[in-house]
Symmetry: C2
Subunit: 438 residues, 2 copies
């Protein structure tokens, strides 16, 4: 049953009543006074959709229309604006968003996978129908990063947008650093605590970060949304040895998503990075996220805060809903769809930067010299090369870790040097390579 609607109220339908959806429903039902105090029309929750009507979600939804089929929310006449919190890049989430926009209804979503895959088509549909498509909650949870890029840097040239965009990865890396623990052990614990999914691939292998980066890139550079063929490397390969070396060298290891303008196009990459321990992003620990934007007028601005969590994510959805109630109608991707540029992506092998390289080197004369020589042959300038004595507790030492820090160099040169070093037979494991960011 639906409440009689308040005069002029904006009537909200929520599809998906998981952690975020339930939190949002509770906020809409309990905070209407605070929201209408801002002088905007009331937000009134009139309809919901979920797979299971009867599940206890800690909030009384008996006064709302329940739809078993989310797409029915789009055509429900008691719904003015649709909130999509189902998730997934295809299926009911996509069907619902398309149906709502087609009906001319504004959509608020937290679905980064959907936007990364279909953001451009959905933006086009939204523009054509004159309906808003808002998604603050899709990137960096409670941090107002989308609106910062959308509203706060008009007329500026963005040279770089980067961020710690996945709370699960940041939580795991933070604990590995603090406890000296191995990835697998911390992951298992994170799963037990509910900070990581049973199948953690999406998070720890970098795909979630890539989806968010695809959205940020479009907003920052005025390009089409393009998540395909991005360079993506997750955090599974990070070891306690890398954490220890990072600490000694004055770095912290963070999984970053980075989009950066270069001479050959936009670099777009997700990988673990060594960040100076004194940098702002290096202090963003645990499940926190951060987004950094570099522009020609501002230099760098950094926004940090909660990257996930029911309340924080629902809070961002609420801010978007308040924008709808206010009548704000920004273009979905900041610029009109037909002015978004096609994507010119720089190839990863043309990336230039510093590199941390950890090698497991055969303990025999000449190995160290041969390695240094291969680096020199590729024109790689070394900042330091340190052979770390390994304790001989567990039997005879046959290999020694060697840590190399390079000055700024070309990724292709590093790859070629590593291929040659491996071919020389002086290492007994694949080189560990972590890019250094400022």
């Amino acid at each position: 049953m639906t409440n009689a609607s308040s005069q002029n109220a904006v009537r909200v339908g929520i599809a998906g009543l998981g952690t975020v959806g339930s939190a949002l429903a509770r906020l809409l039902l309990t905070r209407s006074d605070a929201l209408t105090a801002e002088g905007t029309p009331a937000l009134q929750l009139t309809a919901v959709s979920a797979r299971d009507a009867s599940r206890d979600r800690g909030v009384d939804l008996s006064a709302q229309t329940f739809h078993g089929d989310p797409v029915a929310l789009a055509t429900d006449e008691s719904v003015d604006v649709v909130v999509e919190l189902i998730g997934g890049e295809e299926g009911p989430a996509k069907d619902l968003v398309e149906a709502a926009l087609s009906a001319g209804k504004p959509v608020v979503t937290a679905n980064k996978a959907l936007l990364a895959a279909h953001g451009l088509a959905l933006a086009e549909l939204a523009e054509r129908q004159g309906a808003s498509l808002l998604y603050e909650a899709a990137v960096a949870g409670g941090i107002p990063a989308i609106r910062a890029l959308r509203d706060a840097v008009p007329g500026q040239t963005v040279s770089r947008v980067s961020g710690i965009l996945n709370g699960t990865c940041n939580y795991i890396l933070t604990r590995m650093e603090r406890e000296g623990a191995a990835f697998d052990d911390v992951l298992a614990d994170a799963q037990a605590l509910g900070y990581a999914e049973a199948d953690p691939t999406f998070d720890v292998d970098g795909f979630d970060t890539a989806h968010k980066l695809a959205i940020l890139t479009s907003l920052a550079f005025g390009t089409e949304v393009e998540a395909q063929d991005m360079y993506i490397e997750g955090i599974r390969a990070i070891t306690p040895e890398d954490m220890q070396a990072a600490k000694e060298l004055g770095f912290r290891i963070k999984l970053l998503g980075v989009a950066q303008a270069t001479e050959t196009g936009i670099e777009q990459r997700v990988h673990p990075t060594m960040l100076p321990a004194s940098s702002l992003l290096a202090q963003v620990n645990g499940v926190l996220n951060a987004v950094a934007v570099d522009t020609d007028l501002l230099g760098e601005i950094v926004l940090s805060g909660p990257g996930a969590g029911g309340d924080a994510t629902a809070a961002s959805v609420l801010a978007d809903l308040q924008d709808v109630a206010r009548g704000a109608a920004p273009k979905p991707l900041r610029l009109p769809r037909d002015t978004l540029r096609r994507y010119q992506r720089a190839r990863m092998r043309t990336h230039e930067g510093g590199y941390y390289i950890r090698l497991s080197v055969v303990d025999q004369p000449g190995a160290f010299a041969a390695i240094a020589q291969q680096m020199a042959k590729q024109g790689i300038s070394l900042q330091s090369i340190v052979q770390r004595r390994q304790a001989a507790d567990d039997g005879p030492v046959t290999h020694q870790p060697v840590i190399i820090i390079t000055h700024e160099t070309l990724e292709q040169s590093v790859r070629d040097a590593m291929d040659a070093i491996v071919a020389d037979g002086f290492v007994n494991a694949a080189p560990q390579i972590i890019r250094i960011e400022r």
Copy 2:
């Protein structure tokens, strides 16, 4: 002479052609393509006002109407929106803003002194006239802090807003820390470099921070703007000894503005603070600023970036102008004027927190014990009390520095204990007290 206006263009008048005004004029004249690409009406600079028409500002303003009297901008029929960059809380700036709002024209300003003193009356006037009053550039330069508080936390309860709000102070403190230099020496150098004014009072004594804090407080807590009788302490008294002690104790010293909800009202205070060296705000160095907002749904979000500079400040003005072009019309103080609450300010002596106390103690038996006893008498729980041996290079040692770190305690207790210690005659200088923030 005025250009023929583009169709539908929003015509901008700038009053005040200092660093920010000149930068803004240049941006408006050179970036119109990037701005109109966003699908909003063009921003067209039609008129300017300054004291001296002939001064070279590195930008050709011969096509713009020049007004010797800034108030004339308000009634210039070729001006749709007025940018006030004159500064000062009374006089021409105030006259111009009042005249423009009275004429129903939107105003964009970077003038924190004006807003701190007259923000409430101006907001009332703006609302009555249906004209926007926007001021992103007035607080924390290029950081989108005002719009974050205004747009991104609807329906939330803010418990605390704080920030590093003055670039001059942060620059001086950063250099004192890095160089071990004295305040006066760094100030003189900052003046020579143009980072500090010839009369630095406004910055280094905390008044500028207080003005900005007054604005943030109103937005965060839904209260009237009130800058009178705030607790304000500047950075002149910070010594190299404090910097050294901070470093050893794992702190950094920053001038913070803090507004915080307490049981007895809103604490509103500007003073040097000891911040944990690992905190985000502690990494905000040099002329950078930062704003931190704590809410019930988000926990803490932090925004950092450039606090001043012509381009960065002009960029924030430009974002506000783009909002005007888009037709955005937020309430000046987020909530409607008539719903803003009167100010219930907590008294500083009821502040609770940790304290760093540095005493210059007479080198005689019993002094140390007497001090500890006075602290105990006030119920102050000590985290540490360390007598630092002073080098005897400069003759006989008659006094020794003692550094005390307290657990959370009441400000009044600290004051009473200090009074008693001074009365006991065991110290030869006023105690140095620096509050510890998390």
